[in-house]
């Protein structure tokens, strides 16, 4: 597969945005850069033929997470200092760098991106079953929606239970006096 210019520039953008998130000392600046990072990731997901994931990431990753982070900053403090850049913690750089090197080393064992041996297709009869029978069995043309809401309906129900439990936990932890 030939790498397109769009892909390379998006990859460079998300990595630069991630580095910016890591090194800005002002938490508000880090949050804003992180929102831009999420948006870049959403575009990358679209390039990788996952529009459903991209829409969810843009709405929830770049939207709701940013709002949650900003509300937290509003409730606490912003800790803005004179320095723009955080002091770099070199031992942690070594640890993270070693981790990255080990992960990157394993990548050469992967089949190339988009090849017929793509890892999600290592069991083609299963994946192809969903693509072939989705419309026949559920009447939904979007296979992602069909799997989410029909084939794995109970899984999605469990996810709703998790969100409800977290909602209750948030209210319990915050107590009443924090709101006032």
């Amino acid at each position: 597969m030939s790498v397109s210019l769009v892909e390379v520039s998006l990859a460079a953008f998300v990595i630069l945005a991630a580095i910016g998130t890591a090194i800005f000392r002002d938490v508000m600046a880090a949050i804003v850069v992180f929102a831009a990072y999420s948006l870049g990731m959403a575009v990358l997901y679209t390039l990788m033929l996952a529009p459903d994931v991209a829409m969810t990431e843009a709405a929830i990753g770049a939207g709701v997470t940013t709002i949650l982070l900003i509300v937290t900053i509003a409730k606490t403090n912003r800790s803005s200092a004179e320095e723009l850049i955080e002091v770099i913690h070199w031992p942690a750089v070594v640890v993270a760098g070693t981790f990255t090197a080990v992960v990157a080393w394993t990548v050469f064992e992967f089949p190339t991106i988009g090849s017929d041996e793509a890892i999600a297709w290592s069991n083609p009869s299963v994946t192809q079953h969903y693509l072939t029978y989705t419309y026949v069995e559920t009447g939904v043309t979007n296979a992602v929606t069909a799997v989410l809401a029909a084939y794995r309906g109970f899984d999605t129900f469990g996810e709703a239970v998790v969100v409800f439990a977290v909602g209750v936990a948030v209210l319990v932890v915050l107590d009443r006096e924090v709101f006032t």
Binding site: T21, L68, S79, T100, V126
Partner: protein, 121 residues
């Protein structure tokens, strides 16, 4: 070598983003930035899943009776990532609420300051 890297470019992006997220969770003294680091690692894993499902020359996994024949990206990793995004936001919300509680008690978001205050008590 260069071609082997170019063919797997996004996998390497995933590796780098995982490293940056790990650095943030380990090194940043600010608790909110630690949570952002966890979120960063999470989106890197999502990118890995979505890239694994990609097929060259395919289309998004939207099928109708006529279009079943063509190549499509696998819908199964997409679904698990959708679930993970929502659960991830729930986890982030809970973590941030606990941070707000910590701030009410210690009046700081910095890990080192909180440890200092606890030692002096």
């Amino acid at each position: 070598m260069i071609e082997a890297v170019a063919d797997r470019l996004l996998y390497f992006v995933v590796a780098v983003l995982l490293g940056i997220g790990l650095y943030m969770t380990v090194a940043s003294p600010n608790l909110v930035k630690k949570v952002i680091g966890v979120n960063l690692m999470q989106t890197a894993v999502f990118l890995l899943f979505v890239t694994l499902a990609f097929v060259e020359g395919g289309s998004a996994p939207v099928v109708s009776q006529e279009a079943v024949a063509g190549r499509h990206a696998s819908p199964l990793p997409h679904v698990i990532v959708l679930t993970a995004i929502v659960v991830g936001v729930a986890v982030t919300a809970l973590a941030l609420v606990l941070i707000i509680r910590l701030y009410v008690g210690f009046e700081s978001l910095r890990e080192d300051v909180i440890q200092e205050v606890r030692r002096n008590d």
